[in-house]
Symmetry: C2
């Protein structure tokens, strides 16, 4: 019995499964996977889980097991106030809303804003999960030009002048997939442009705590508070299996974001929110972040070192100060997908970069490498093999 005839037109838009099919092999036994976007399991604070659970039942009792408000579990919202403060964001508990991972927020913002054919401006390349969330609402993507410091302000300005843009989606810090970070001056210029055009920007910031060197840079939200929805997650600093994200939106959008979330999942798991509240409020998060950084920094250095040692000549790559990814750019005309298949034969997987672009034919010569998930030996071995494949 096929019910294909019943599918809504939007559904066919969500069919972009080429990447998923491609990556199926990356889980094969013996494969060195540099393709994922997973945190390292040893970054999870497993040792304090018992303590957290005891605290949750002691403080909240059965409330932690009950339905909760769509806005989020108040003790978590309260705990997040000082967490976002160190990113320069002034927010009260009532300003902070909880989502089911950042993904839940991305779906909600797409749902309330995007009508079929509406323009959404995104970095080229951009985060694939955001495209997956937005695609269901059938937008038209306008690409924003990037250089090594992220989005180029002139490109934002021109785009806002020439199109009616619903919102601009940006990952200013340690971007997925490129690892690029926008400097302060550029952030200020973009903030000014957004304000001048009375435009709306979504600042997605999952990685800023994963900084291995250099100084923290103020968030775009802190520079244009009325024009930016700031979204982040605990997936990279607690555990993704809890599915806890959060966001701070301009007041006029909040009611709508909550109403759509009510239809989508009623509320994010009260229990995992309560665990997160105790994790932050008791200072465990503060202690965990340096541990996570010390796990990832040597992995990133190992990958950068291996690239330096093995991949020469026509290949360039970005050296980010943090995050989870390294972006490699091959010579123009190179088809990285063809090399993907060759690398997989040699038991190394990566993500061909073209999947992060909204325009066909872009980024064919690029690839994204992840270093948080594999161990250092695998990283070194994987990059060596990969380099041999690329140079062959």
């Amino acid at each position: 019995m096929s019910f294909d005839r019943l599918l809504a037109p939007r559904t066919k838009n969500i069919s972009a499964s080429a990447l998923r099919e491609l990556l199926k092999v990356s889980g094969q036994p013996g494969m060195i996977s540099l393709s994922g976007g997973y945190p390292a399991p040893d970054s999870f604070p497993v040792d304090i889980m018992d303590t957290l659970m005891d605290k949750v039942f002691e403080k909240y009792g059965t409330t932690a097991l009950q339905y909760g408000t769509t806005e989020g579990f108040n003790p978590l919202r309260e705990a997040l106030v000082s967490y976002v403060a160190r990113r320069g964001i002034k927010a009260k508990m009532d300003d902070i809303y909880i989502s089911s991972g950042s993904q839940g927020f991305l779906d909600a913002v797409g749902k309330i804003l995007i009508n079929k054919g509406d323009c959404v401006a995104v970095e080229a390349p951009t985060y694939l999960g955001a495209l997956q969330a937005f695609n269901a609402y059938e937008p038209q993507y306008i690409r924003l030009e990037m250089d090594d410091e992220g989005v180029i302000p002139e490109s934002v300005e021109e785009t806002l002048k020439s199109h009616l843009i619903k919102f601009i989606y940006l990952v200013p810090t340690f971007q997925n997939p490129t690892g690029r970070t926008m400097g302060l001056e550029r952030r200020k210029r973009i903030a000014a442009i957004i304000q001048a055009h009375d435009a709306l920007a979504v600042e997605d910031d999952p990685y800023s705590e994963l900084r291995y060197r250099g100084e923290r840079i103020p968030t775009l939200k802190s520079l244009a508070p009325d024009h930016v929805i700031y979204a982040s997650t605990l997936s990279k600093v607690f555990a993704p299996g809890f599915r806890v994200g959060f966001y701070i939106a301009p007041e006029s959008l909040r009611t709508w974001l909550i109403r759509v979330k009510q239809g989508v999942d009623l509320n994010t798991s009260t229990f995992t929110q309560a665990l997160a509240a105790e994790y932050i409020a008791n200072g465990f998060l503060e202690k965990q972040i340096p541990k996570i950084v010390e796990i990832y920094r040597p992995k990133q250095e190992a990958m950068l070192g291996a690239l330096e040692a093995h991949l020469t000549g026509e290949f360039k790559w970005i050296k980010p100060d943090g995050g989870m990814f390294i972006w490699v750019i091959g010579p123009k005309g190179m088809d990285m997908e063809a090399y993907y298949h060759k690398a997989v034969e040699k038991k190394v997987a990566f993500v061909p970069g073209k999947f992060f672009f909204t325009q066909k034919g872009e980024g064919l010569e690029t690839m994204r490498l992840n270093y948080t998930s594999p161990d250092i030996t695998s990283i070194e071995k994987g990059v060596k093999i990969l380099s041999e494949v690329l140079k062959a």
Copy 2:
């Protein structure tokens, strides 16, 4: 700064907040709330949570904290095989998909099927959470006539003949809001009609384990397996704060349901899924259900007894064999919302029934009462006060 101008047309469809506004008072101190739909906190298996968590870390380690597949955590899907078998549903692990509560499934099915203006057939009255999920996709609702035994088969047949129906949404057992249950003969007729028209039905079954008397009735899914998506949840038999639901869909729809979920929340909390898996696999669920039934049965009896004692004459109500609600029908012409305000003054809250209907002007004389959340003393006192208000 207002961004109202940026909202998608669908968003205004989700504005039906009249009920939410109305119910805000039901949380006031001293209020006897018969309005909610919450399980009783003493129905939660708090005493075994430590055991469950130990088992989770012992068996799954950090996997329980990591991202998981969108389809669901395999040990939970495996554990659900025998759980659905006792509802007459033959399913393998691969046939069962996990959602973030039933709500997550309702959103997904709306998203893949409903295009603006498409017809969806629903019971009159029907579950409000389903309408909230579907409304975002802008359907047109076709009402299905009900009597004391649920949906009338002739109404289903006529509706399928006269309209192109995307799907029929049914809660056949202890329906929310009416508590009505469809008998076996009627289920068989509806199964035959759906099959004859090659139509798609969604069977939402959150309450069937909450049976206080009488025999279990086979699910619609077991009678028309190829034409029914069966959806259920652990919210009423484990804890709603975990947000774990599940569904079994015809094969041709599965890929699409998974793809939209990937854009919405990537995966349901791996951690709460792992807890649920151990809850079921170790036989705790089996032991908990009779305890829950023994908490709710006396509460339901108390409410039915109080109605019998105090509410006479022109009022009727349905006496369900299970579930969470009692549906009271007043004399035609009565405006229950006006009585709601009077009852709230006397510190008793309920839900005026009109909110469960898709057509304006229907069900004005009806109300829904919940008995799982309040204690027996409150139920008796609340119904007594309510009866006085209604008779005044």
